[in-house]
């Protein structure tokens, strides 16, 4: 077994594109022996779709330290689409996709896998992604969970997803921020924690549903905590809900969510809260928490499980200070006392 770390970008990197990296088995032997990490650099914008299905012991698709977004679009390594782009995770081993921005750039031809499709036989983590701006007709999903094997764990954590929109076309097309479409989640573990989803839209006078978070299959362990979903909307005759959650099998792991409608599920959840009172700005889009946000320090402490849940969308460690967790992808550390305007306050206190 070998650890294979490679770089992806157009300025002195190992691979110019993710497509080339993936087609070369992530630099590994392609026989399932290696732990392969491909780190993207913010040299130029990527414009590609790819399916991760090579054989490795583990695969991490990430962005190099120092090259990551700052929680807003256009600030780090990104996919900037000229036609709809999908990252499809469809391998047989543990795969993580993290820290990328996927700007669909109002392209109209998204396929049924969504911007990030999770259809893997192995554990999957999709974290710290910024996914935004779909348009046109047909089904739209930010992150779509549509395949898991028995015993697998899926973690969808600390993502910012906004403006996932179907703008035209009648019919029954579905729109979702984070959607689950699996026949059974029995023997599987799902974490949907600390995500922020805003302005999911189903327009065109169709009949399909429009939902910020959709999980309607009972699971042996379903965790839905600390999520913010606001302003799900449209003119569809189908259901329009911030959350569409069936939690009959396990209600103990669903809590501390916020919605702008009445659908936030679980204990300590907040409903009927305005997005204008939560986010700094929606044009330009800056979904960091604003002063006085209802979600600020209204979450529950999730410790370090699943891995990476404690790091917010700015990379701030929620466990670094003796503070209460906030809901959503941003912890709002810049709002705490003397550290105003400085989200790196706790880092700055280090000797």
């Amino acid at each position: 077994m070998a650890v294979v770390n490679t770089t992806i970008g157009t300025d002195a990197r190992d691979y110019a594109t993710h497509t080339l990296w993936e087609s070369d088995d992530g630099g590994g032997d392609g026989l399932g022996n290696d732990d392969c990490t491909g780190s993207a650099y913010n040299d130029s914008a990527f414009d590609e779709a790819w399916t991760i299905d090579f054989d490795a012991n583990s695969i991490v698709q990430t962005v190099a330290g120092g090259e990551r977004h700052d929680g807003t679009a256009g600030s780090g390594a990104r996919i900037l689409a000229t036609t709809s782009r999908t990252i499809l995770i469809s391998g047989a081993n543990d795969i993580t996709v993290t820290w990328l921005e996927i700007d669909e750039n109002s392209t109209t031809n998204m396929n049924s896998d969504g911007a990030v499709g999770l259809n893997n036989e192995g554990d999957v983590t999709a974290s710290h992604l910024i996914i935004h701006d779909t348009s046109g007709s047909g089904t739209k999903d930010g992150i779509l969970l549509d395949g898991m094997a028995s015993g697998d764990t899926v973690a969808i954590i600390n993502n910012l997803i906004y403006d996932i929109a179907k703008s035209t076309g009648t019919g029954s097309a579905w729109v979702g921020g984070i959607s689950e479409d699996i026949a059974s989640l029995t023997d599987k573990t799902v974490y949907i924690n600390n995500n922020t989803i805003h302005n999911t839209t189903n327009s065109g006078v169709g009949t399909g549903p429009c939902e910020g978070v959709h999980v309607t299959t009972g699971a042996s362990e379903l965790n839905i905590k600390n999520n913010i979903v606001t302003d799900t909307n449209g003119d569809t005759s189908g259901a329009i809900d911030d959350f569409d959650i069936a939690i009959a099998d396990d209600v103990t792991n669903v809590s501390n969510n916020l919605s702008s409608d009445t659908t936030a599920p679980g204990a300590n959840s907040l409903t009927a809260k305005s997005s204008a009172n939560q986010f700094v700005s929606t044009s330009p889009v800056n979904l960091h928490l604003k002063s006085g946000a209802d979600t600020f320090e209204a979450g529950t402490d999730l410790g370090t499980t699943p891995t990476g849940v404690n790091l917010d969308i700015d990379g701030f460690d929620r466990n670094a200070g003796a503070t209460t967790w906030s809901m959503g992808a941003h912890d709002g550390d810049n709002l705490r006392g003397a550290a105003a305007n400085n989200p790196w306050y706790h880092y700055a206190q280090q000797a």
Binding site: T10, D11, A12, D14, Y15, A16, T17, L20, S23, D24, D25, D29, G30, L31, N42, D43, S44, A45, E48, D53, F54, D55, G65, G66, E67, R68, D70, T72, A73, G74, S75, G76, L80, T83, S106, D133, A183, S203, D231, N233, S274, S275, A276, V280, S281, T282, S283, P284, V285, N286, H288, K290, D314, G315, N334, N341, N342, W344, Y347, A348
Partner: protein
């Protein structure tokens, strides 16, 4: 002129890539835009420029104006003015939600004070410094421990702030949808050619590294350009990096000539060849998988099953290698320890080398 990256050797996992597959393709638009991204939004000390209010980045601002739909200008402590650069129209708003005139039914708001304080967060005067400079300034007592640690943490995490222009309290930024089409790419290059000695015709190949393509790019920084940049408060070393994209560079005897070495090692494991030009729609088709139609099901919700990763391939050992000069042979291409770049040797006619698999 365009390029293909051809797979060398079969993937180990069955059903994946095969020797000769056309894995990725780059037409002129994509290649020139790649270079433009790096030229117009360069790095300084390893970080993308931006977020330094009061510092002029004229080419970067033009580059953003060419592409983005919206321009936001802070017009008061709490309000912004949004201008639609594509179709015209302005609106002024603040933290109180209003309906977006461009998207009826959608509510927008912006607390300008919070937004721009977040944008300008921390210690903007440290932006652009590198680690060594941060440490030396701390040792000299010129910056505080908080400032040092803030910047080191930021340096380790973020690519660089989104570019902010204007003055403190009157900030300007660009955002929302972006035009990335061929016409916009050429307009961006018009700006680059106006403001720099760089020429688009020299940027029609994807940037490969010195190991793969030891091409040197000579940049002449004209005295009047240096003078203009100095007048804008831009130091000459920065100006050199600005034009060279912060790549490795050398100054000439007069300090006015830069030789940049284009970086990258992207040629390895693939055979890159030059082919005749194709448009974006053809590009998508060229790297499409081999598929067959099946009944719609949970497994195949689109009614399509992928049989092979790629539909198109090239008999590179026959039709490509045979026409090359002595600079590379089949064994060199197959040797993963060697860097081979034959792109400058010949432009292949796609119709003569492209083969299509069948179900």
């Amino acid at each position: 002129m365009a390029e293909w990256a051809i797979k060398i050797g079969d993937s180990k996992t069955p059903g994946r890539y095969q020797d000769g597959d056309v894995v990725d393709v780059f037409n002129r638009r994509r290649t020139r835009l790649c270079h433009a991204d790096m030229i117009c939004h360069p790095r300084v000390n390893g970080k993308k420029v931006g977020g330094q209010l009061g510092t002029a980045y004229p080419l970067l601002e033009k580059y953003l104006q060419r592409q983005h739909r919206y321009k936001w200008e802070r017009v008061s402590r709490t309000e912004v003015k949004r201008t639609n650069l594509w179709v015209g129209g302005e609106i002024v708003y603040g933290a109180t939600p209003i309906e977006d005139p461009d998207r009826p039914g959608h509510i927008i708001h912006c607390d300008a004070e919070e937004h721009f304080s977040f944008r300008n967060r921390g210690f903007p005067h440290l932006m652009g410094w590198d680690r060594a400079e941060i440490h030396s300034q701390f040792v000299a007592g010129d910056i505080t421990r908080v400032e040092r640690n803030y910047w080191l943490a930021y340096f380790d995490h973020n690519a660089g702030a989104l570019p902010i222009f204007g003055a403190d309290g009157a900030e300007v930024e660009y955002g929302d949808r972006m035009k990335r089409d061929a016409a916009t790419t050429e307009l961006i290059w018009d700006d680059i050619e106006t403001d720099t000695p760089l020429r688009r015709v020299d940027h029609d190949m994807m940037p490969l590294g010195e190991e793969a393509a030891p091409a040197l790019l000579a940049l002449a920084l004209l005295p009047e350009q240096a003078k203009r940049l100095r007048a804008q408060g831009v130091s000459e070393p920065f100006a050199l990096e600005y034009f060279s994209g912060d790549r490795e560079y050398r100054t000439g005897a007069e300090g006015d000539v830069v030789t940049a070495i284009l970086g990258g090692r992207v040629a390895r494991h693939f055979l890159w060849i030059t082919v005749d030009e194709f448009d974006d729609a053809e590009a998508e088709e060229l790297k499409a998988p081999l598929t067959e139609e099946v009944a719609v099901s949970d497994e195949f919700p689109d009614g399509i099953r992928i049989i092979q990763k790629r539909k198109h391939h090239v008999d590179w050992q026959g039709k490509v290698a045979a026409s090359l000069s002595n600079s590379a042979n089949v064994a060199d291409v197959e040797d993963r320890t060697k860097q081979v770049d034959i792109r400058a040797e010949e432009t292949f006619d796609r119709s003569s080398i492209q083969q299509t698999k069948s179900v």
